[in-house]
């Protein structure tokens, strides 16, 4: 399956230099650890950012703004977080979104599939959760609603 979307066809594009610089930003946001790769190791700056921006092309200006801001990525991000929180939030959202749609990452978090998977209930599954009578105690405590005080059908 070819999952790469050409960014320029969606109204955005990154040069090789852009992607190199983007790698610094995505790793500053997602450095990896706890058994997970960093964002650049997960190809966020090359593959998945294009896929993510394909879904949210309106967020490209935020990425562009950050890339065009001079300075070391961590310094730029620290300043954004304190002075332009909305820009930081949009960047964090699209980078995290790109990271989290990588099937390997999704699998690492325990999701059963690369998209939400069908998991229809077994015929007796609903009752199995209640088989020890846990709901009986709720019923035994009796009604907890206030009835209509003046009931007279209109």
């Amino acid at each position: 399956m070819n999952i790469q979307i050409k960014g320029k066809d969606k109204g955005f594009d990154f040069s090789d230099a852009d992607r190199d610089r983007l790698a610094g930003f995505v790793d500053a946001l997602i450095a990896g650890g706890a058994g997970f790769p960093s964002a650049s190791e997960a190809d966020v700056h090359t593959v998945w950012i294009d896929r993510a921006l394909g879904a949210r092309p309106d967020l490209f200006p935020f990425v562009r703004q950050v890339l065009d801001t001079p300075g070391e990525p961590q310094d730029v991000l620290d300043r954004l977080r304190s002075e332009e929180e909305s820009v930081f939030d949009e960047l964090g959202f699209i980078v995290a979104g790109a990271y989290l749609i990588n099937p390997k990452i999704r699998k690492g978090f325990g999701y059963p599939g690369i998209t939400p998977e069908k998991n229809p209930a077994f015929p007796d599954e609903a009752e199995a959760y209640l088989a020890d009578g846990i709901l009986d105690r709720v019923i035994e405590r009796g009604p907890i609603y206030r009835p209509t005080p003046d009931f007279e059908a209109s």
Binding site: A31, G35, R56, L100, P120, A126, V138, Y145, D150, A153
Partner: protein
């Protein structure tokens, strides 16, 4: 202007929940019905939920907020003076396309808040009046749930068995059991078994982004196909500009815009079903020399008393796997422990709680942590991101606490003539400030929800929101017996214009503390039934 020569028995404006229920009922009864909808049909294949990036698409093109979507069929909503951001979706199926499918009947006390609690107003109808219509629409929507809930009168018996409560519900139920607090398997307009119109739920959990399996009740699937089989005509991309009246003050039809061209649809009866924002917007846009303050507005209450549900949320992290990506995403379990008034708490009325799967959409973890109370100051990005996410994804339970909201005339929907939709019609403007009683309900219930997390074994729990936006737009054309303080009567009929009806959430007298789709649908069914039974007495324009 192009004129549709066929005069319909009934014209319905808006093809959402209430419009669908009424359209089917009236068409099956033999009425000629025309439905005007500003949006279009949504193909299952168009929904974002078959794609890995469904969450990203859901935050943009499929956002609940029309100002974010900005589609041609949307109209802008000015929220500059509002702490609430109204949600909605404009399409056949309406906001049901993106709703969670929590199917909650209002409770008997909801209809008698003045009598029981000394606040707001009683409704002109009772729970008992609506009960048969709840039951009817529950069959039509394939509602799944468990009978015998002591939080409701015994007549509440959903037609389909409840969904499994999943690990998340079971773990929280054990916590509620320790506390001796009420809980119950959730009610969902998502069938647990295949129905005539809907597939059995596959538990994808993505319900709020649109169900790709055709297993969530939306009127484009459950009602309009039957209505059309019986002759109803659904006209899409048709934005109503104004409802027209004759010299006698009776409704004659509506002028609508389609592709920039004006059309006129004549009808004996006009039903407005455009939600609690769109309905007052249209009634106000229909002002004329005869009705300078807008249609049906002799009380001055069209647009006033806007209510919503600024619900609270709290989350807990659990060591054991919760697998909280298993659907459906309506209600896993609910609690009515704190629904009824106990004035010792410092407020009247109360809140329903419910759990929905919280890990379906992993990017939502970002705000939960970085904007959460007590977590916002803790690190999240950089070297902490993956560890935090690993702690949360698949290990989280989220409570939503839905407060009753009481009407205030200072909360309203009005027209904003400075902004327009794609047809040049004025935007809606909302002014909403959360009432003190509502705030207290949310705050108090969130504190209790943290106790519930602790009892259920959470290793960490915190509040993630006290004013979440909802798609519950209510109260802006309230029903009542007195024409001086209500817009429509108990049947949804305008006091001023006897062949003009309102059937959506606008007619609510109070917000109730539950998700409103069940009550909206039951009211629509009741009004449609009334129209059929009283057709010969119905006054119409000559």
């Amino acid at each position: 202007m192009n004129s549709k020569t066929d005069r319909a028995d009934v014209l319905i404006i808006g093809a959402g929940a209430s419009g669908g229920v009424a359209a089917k009922h009236l068409a099956v009864a033999g009425f000629s019905v025309v439905i005007l909808e500003q949006g279009s049909w949504v193909a299952t294949s168009d929904l974002p939920t078959n794609k890995a990036e469904f969450e990203l698409l859901g935050s943009g093109r499929w956002n609940w907020n029309p100002n974010v979507r900005g589609l041609d069929e949307d109209y802008p909503v000015n929220t500059e003076e509002s702490v609430a951001i109204p949600g909605m979706y404009n399409a056949v199926g309406g906001s049901m396309i993106l709703y969670a499918s929590c199917w909650c009947r209002s409770k008997p006390s909801d209809f008698r808040v003045r009598t029981l609690d000394g606040v707001a107003d009683d409704w002109p109808i009772s729970y008992e009046d609506l009960s048969p219509y709840y039951a009817a629409v529950e069959r039509e929507f394939g509602v799944a749930g468990k009978a015998g809930n002591p939080a409701y009168p015994p007549d509440h018996q959903p037609p389909l068995p409840a969904h499994p409560i999943t690990n998340a519900g079971r773990m929280m139920a054990q916590g509620m059991d320790k506390l001796g607090w009420h809980w119950w398997p959730g009610y969902n307009s998502i069938p647990s078994q295949k129905t005539d119109h809907l597939e059995q739920c596959k538990r994808l959990g993505v319900c709020m982004y649109g169900c790709p399996e055709g297993a969530k009740a939306t009127t484009d699937l459950t009602h309009f196909p039957d209505a059309m089989k019986h002759g109803a005509k659904v006209i899409t991309r048709a934005r109503v500009a104004r409802i027209t009246t004759d010299d006698a003050g009776l409704a004659t039809g509506a002028v609508y815009l389609q592709g920039g061209v004006e059309h006129f649809q004549a009808a004996d009866v006009v039903i407005v079903a455009a939600n609690g924002v769109g309905t007052p917007r249209l009634l106000l846009m229909s002002a004329s020399n005869q009705f300078p303050d807008g249609l049906a507005n002799s009380s001055g209450l069209v647009g006033k008393r806007y209510m919503t549900h600024p619900f609270g949320t709290s989350v807990g992290i659990y060591e054991d796997p919760v697998e909280d990506w298993t659907g459906p995403a309506g209600e896993v379990i609910e609690s009515m422990e704190f629904y009824e008034t106990d004035e010792s708490r410092g407020f009247v009325r109360g809140s329903k709680w419910h759990i929905i799967p919280s890990s379906v959409a992993p990017t939502r973890m970002i705000d939960r942590w970085t904007k959460g109370e007590g977590t916002a100051d803790e690190s999240f990005w950089g070297t902490d991101f993956t560890a935090r996410m690993k702690d949360m994804v698949g290990h989280m339970i989220e409570w939503m606490t839905m407060p009753d909201d009481l009407p205030e005339e200072t909360n309203y929907i009005a027209l904003d003539h400075d902004q327009t939709d794609s047809d040049g019609l004025p935007a809606a403007k909302v002014r909403y400030v959360t009432g003190e009683n509502t705030k207290r309900i949310v705050d108090w219930n969130l504190e209790r929800s943290l106790e519930a997390h602790e009892a259920a074994g959470a290793t960490k729990a915190w509040v993630t929101g006290r004013n979440n936006p909802s798609m519950h737009n209510l109260g802006t054309a309230r029903m009542g017996d007195d024409p001086s303080d209500s817009v429509v009567d108990k049947w949804g009929r305008s006091h001023d214009i006897p062949n003009l009806y309102v059937i959506d959430g606008s007619v609510f007298v109070t917000a109730t503390g539950v998700n409103p789709t069940a009550t909206i649908s039951a009211i629509a069914k009741r009004t449609a039934t009334y129209l059929v039974e009283n057709a010969r007495k119905q006054k119409v324009a000559s």
